[in-house]
């Protein structure tokens, strides 16, 4: 079950911070011409695969719920 967050961040902003912290997602400041898949989508896929969720590469409700569960602050993948 999800745990309420003490934050005013939007879900997408929250997800970005989660992926930066735990999946080594870089801040994307460059234009994305020619990129077929965004890094956020790739990192979401990594996270969904790790937790055995349906791998969609998108921020669905199930993935967000998983992100909001209490957890260890150590990354799931190598930095």
């Amino acid at each position: 079950r999800s745990v309420p967050l003490s934050t005013d961040m939007s879900d997408e902003e929250f997800a970005k911070n989660y992926l930066k912290e735990l999946y080594a997602m870089q801040e994307d400041n460059t234009p994305s011409f020619g990129r077929k898949v965004s890094e956020m989508s790739l990192k979401l896929s990594e996270m969904q695969e790790f937790f055995g969720l349906k791998v969609t590469g998108t921020l669905d409700a199930e993935t967000l719920e998983m992100m909001k569960q209490p957890r260890c602050g150590v990354p799931d993948v190598a930095a």
């Binding site: 967050l5 209490p70 602050g73 150590v74 990354p75 190598a78």
Partner: protein, 368 residues
């Protein structure tokens, strides 16, 4: 922290630890005891020895901190990240920090149990990564489990012993067998119980359950205690009474009534008017077409009228009378889309009313 575990271990089996400060949530003695027991979780299955020091630099420096505490990985306030630890190395290596914006507890399931959080973090401090096994202590998600009967799961034992080897000392009493996480692909898998819950189906086995949503192809596996901390493992039976939005969980003479994630009532098996000779049931199902609860005991079953709150007359009857072809003991049961599914060991018998339609395996329901 580096995830390259194969080279990420301490070069010695003799490690020191120091508790630098304390959380106000617990007494000093409770923190000391929780930390010591959390380290022993790993010491019991390896040659590792932990010695506490009270000054100077220890291999594992333990502290409680909030927000930005100077290691480049700030904590985030209540919930979210609970703690973190650095893998084996000099300096920060091995150090373990707890987010003191959390409420830590000694024995209770309210708040976050310090022993469980610490045991997980010390796994990192010794060189372990997160595990994808939902039953593993090293799974990234915090899950409350019974602290008094805690036994390090098999996945964690295998991984820590791959780094440090097993404990060469013969213990005074044999260690309990590490509990494995049930595998949906095991053809010999015999489920404990199956029930619906608000449109989803829950399949119970030992301390775990799989959760299946009709619109989702995947089934997820969880520890029972992660949803209902009060419930035991190894349950006998479960059924949903959708008209009352209640799920009943049976173990021996005890019955728990659940409304979603809340335990709303505790009853005894006798409250269902079963004879006193019935000490436990093997399976149960709510028949939506009749409003009856069917309780399976061996090769017989009882029928309980939920409207009149009494046992129907003429029971027990042989299961095969109502479900021809069902000759074995019913070990689990549930209804879905008008079909009744009776589990007997690893086989599942699908009935439409009293007609046997198919004989299936667990894989029909569980993703493998």
């Amino acid at each position: 922290y580096r995830a390259d575990s194969s080279s990420n271990k301490w070069p010695t089996n003799k490690l020191t630890y120091r508790i630098e400060n304390y959380t106000p949530d617990m007494s000093v003695a409770e923190v000391d005891d929780s930390i010591q027991r959390a380290l022993q979780v790993w010491a019991r299955v390896t040659p590792l020895k932990f010695t506490r020091i009270y000054s100077g630099i220890a291999d594992i420096m333990i502290s409680f901190a909030v927000g930005d505490h100077g290691d480049g990985s700030p904590f985030d306030g209540p919930n979210g990240f609970l703690a973190h630890a650095f893998g084996p190395a000099d300096g920060l290596g091995g150090d373990t920090h707890f987010d003191d914006d959390e409420t830590f507890t000694f024995k209770s399931s309210n708040g976050y149990n310090l022993f469980l959080v610490a045991a997980h973090e010390f796994g990192h401090a010794l060189g372990l990564d997160h595990s994808t096994d939902p039953g593993a202590l090293m799974n990234a998600r915090y899950t409350y489990r019974d602290v008094d009967s805690f036994v390090l799961p098999r996945d964690d034992v295998r991984k820590i012993q791959a780094l440090y080897g097993s404990n060469p000392e013969i213990p005074d009493k044999p260690e309990p067998t590490p509990p494995p996480t049930p595998n949906a692909c095991d053809p010999r898998l015999v489920l404990d119980a199956v029930t619906g819950l608000r449109g989803e189906t829950y399949f119970f086995k030992n301390k775990f359950f799989w959760r299946s949503h009709p619109q989702m192809p995947q089934t997820e596996q969880f520890l029972i205690k992660s949803f209902w901390p009060e419930l035991p493992g190894d349950i006998d039976a479960a059924l949903e009474d959708p008209s009352a939005d209640l799920v009943y969980i049976f173990k021996g003479q005890k019955v728990w009534a659940l409304n979603g994630y809340d335990v709303v009532n505790r009853k005894s098996l006798s409250s269902f008017r079963l004879p006193a000779t019935v000490k436990k049931i093997n399976a149960a199902v709510y028949d939506e077409s009749t409003g009856k609860m069917l309780f399976f005991v061996g090769k017989s079953y009882y029928s309980f009228d939920t409207n009149n709150k009494k046992m129907d007359k003429g029971y027990p009857k042989q299961v095969e009378e109502r479900f021809p072809g069902m000759t074995g003991k019913v070990t689990a049961a549930f209804q879905n889309n008008g079909f009744t599914y009776l589990f007997s060991g690893p086989r599942v018998f699908e009935f439409n009313e009293s007609t046997l339609m198919r004989v299936l395996g667990n894989k029909h329901f569980l993703q493998c």
